[in-house]
Symmetry: C2
Subunit: 344 residues, 2 copies
DNA sequence: TCGACCGCGGACAACGTTGTCATGGTGGCG
DNA sequence: CGCCACCATGACAACGTTGTCCGCGGTCGA
């Protein structure tokens, strides 16, 4: 083993300014000056120090620096539901980009929709002294963040409002979106419109259902419980729900899918079918234009959501202490074909 | 302004152990002991300290703790090309999951395929004392990481090998994949097979081209430059390339798309066409089964790639100092229809 | 010639935390 | 009563860095 270490001198400890100083024959402070481009160092000395830095592979310890300076780490924490899904990853990218514009970095984590994990992540990030927190809520209890918010860590909630705390929030116009879809389908002659949504405990699902209800009322369509299926939709669940609303004696001629997962499941269930109901899906998704017929969707700008959240966050960091703000981003209907099918 | 601060007592400084200690009438060390669940604190004292911690919203400063302990931050840095694309985000999730299993966290950043940004991110992460670095290379020069690697920060490269540095690497069997696609198409009667690939400077593109070449040779197909189009493919570019290889007097009857972006562009270009060439796309993508006909792809397990990288990384952190390892993950052909179209 | 000033460099403390060691008090036991 | 063990607690240094202040030697103007 002595042989090994002789052959390949693997150092275990990273070089510090002290090591550099010793090697260069100067004081630690002089090294610090060189590293920070501070004036008052003789060029020759600086050159020697730089050489020693290279030789030792020295890299300054930002944690120690931040500690000493009392300055922030220029990091923001982002608690997502699942980075792997497109909504989260596009959001992450937008947040990262906004952070980068200020020279900041992003610490991410996925809660997997579990409140306990959301909390673990948020608390951990705070302990690591992030300067701000962006949270896509998994749970409905956010009191645990009150202390952080009071002590100066701004928090912005995304996609869903926080539970027991008033804070900056960015949402999309869920209710307005589904209402517009109903109006659109009604204009194309549909009178029996079904809604397949997520579990109503989920904020977005409840809002979308509310919009559906309001849209139906405004269009003068009577309410029919048979046309609404809320709840967890896996592939077979979606197929059953679809069969239910499109079967029977007064079948739906149009379907609104409550989110992109459900939309995809509906498309799979519809794949072999002869007669197709008109379809409008909430959330846009890649390749929606490539299936046959292309899918009409309720689209919203996920990246804009990330940017809006970062604007709110930076405003707080810049000293804004006004009352919490709520930003609601528009949802627009993108007609591609599936939502314009006539009432058969 | 005095009014404001009186109405809403927003403290600017986060409470420290010192603050808690003063409030509780104990020493800092006692607070530390309580926070760390160390023995030797009288229950009554501990209770008082806990109460003060709650009251002040104290959260211990992990940076200071790591500094003092000389311990690591239990963070790994992940340099991606773009979190927003599915490959990156699925990778991120897998990495995050593997990290979580050990109680670690992940710092991510997107290089946007720019070597300078890759480097900035990697260096920044090192300065923040990540314990390990996962890099999807954007550039071909990685000498700047040699110092880090020598000083004990393990680095694993993903999807593409590093430039001028030997290090642990996880790849997929690019060449084997395209060779298999050629074999598959040949077995279905195709003799004129085209390859639309990315710019050959890109490692994966070059490898896939190599596999295509080898596959053709092994199948006894003569080489025809007309059937290969490498280079940047935006939507119109892909359409042009497709028109070129499928036009002329000896048109291709089958097309291999070099990555999922190109596959999608080809599908869009093909959308209205009457006669379709057979199609095999490298990389799987969501909804590949929903277009008509469903798309046959060369699939690989992105999450497995992240897990493999984390295994290599943790092995290094656990003291493995063997020679750098290269893991090559399999690529398998998933027949869905488009690759099984007969030679018209 | 003297004082003022500048350029260069170092000593020291401090950021918030934890490891090491010391201290004072209490109880048991011979 | 004397001794020791043990418990609860505190004082202090140190992690790596930077801000503040100070000193030394030289130059310049009066």
């Amino acid at each position: 083993m002595t042989t090994l270490s002789a052959v390949e001198p693997r150092r275990v400890r990273r070089a510090t300014m002290g090591d550099v100083a010793r090697l260069a024959g100067v004081s630690i402070k002089t090294v610090s000056r060189v590293v920070n481009d501070e004036p008052g160092v003789h060029p020759a000395t600086a050159a020697r120090v730089v050489a020693c830095i290279e030789q030792l592979g020295f890299r300054r310890h930002l944690g120690a620096r931040d500690l000493r300076r009392g300055s922030s780490s220029k990091t923001i924490g982002l608690v997502l539901e699942d980075v792997a899904n497109p909504f989260s990853s596009v959001l992450t990218r937008a947040v990262e980009e906004a952070a980068r514009a200020r020279g900041w970095h992003v610490l991410t984590g996925s809660s997997d929709a579990q409140p306990s994990r959301e909390r673990e992540l948020a608390v951990e990030f705070c302990a690591r002294r992030v300067d701000g927190l962006l949270v896509v809520p998994a749970g409905g209890q956010h009191g645990y963040l009150a202390a952080e918010m009071r002590t100066g860590t701004p928090v912005v909630f995304l996609d869903r409002p926080a539970g027991d705390v008033v804070a900056d929030t960015v949402l999309v116009d869920n209710a307005g979106g589904t209402a517009a879809a109903v109006r659109h389908l009604h204009a194309h002659g549909h009178r029996r419109i079904a809604f397949l949504g997520d579990a109503p405990q989920i904020f977005t699902a409840a809002e979308r259902l509310r919009g559906f209800r309001e849209g139906c009322a405004r269009a003068g369509l009577g309410w029919d419980d048979e046309l609404v299926v809320m709840g967890p939709h896996d592939a077979p669940g979606a197929a059953r729900a679809l069969a239910r609303v499109c079967g029977g004696e007064r079948p739906a001629t149009a379907v609104i899918a409550g989110n992109n997962r459900i939309t995809v499941h509906v498309l799979r269930a519809l794949a072999g079918a002869a007669a197709r109901p008109a379809l409008v899906g909430f959330d846009d998704f890649e390749l929606a234009d490539l299936v046959d017929p292309p899918v009409t969707v309720l689209a919203h700008d996920t990246a804009a959501m990330g940017r809006a959240a970062m604007e709110l966050l930076f405003a707080r960091l810049d000293g804004d202490s006004g009352p919490p703000r709520r930003v609601v981003l528009p949802v627009r209907l993108v007609p591609r074909g599936s939502g314009e099918l006539p009432c058969r």
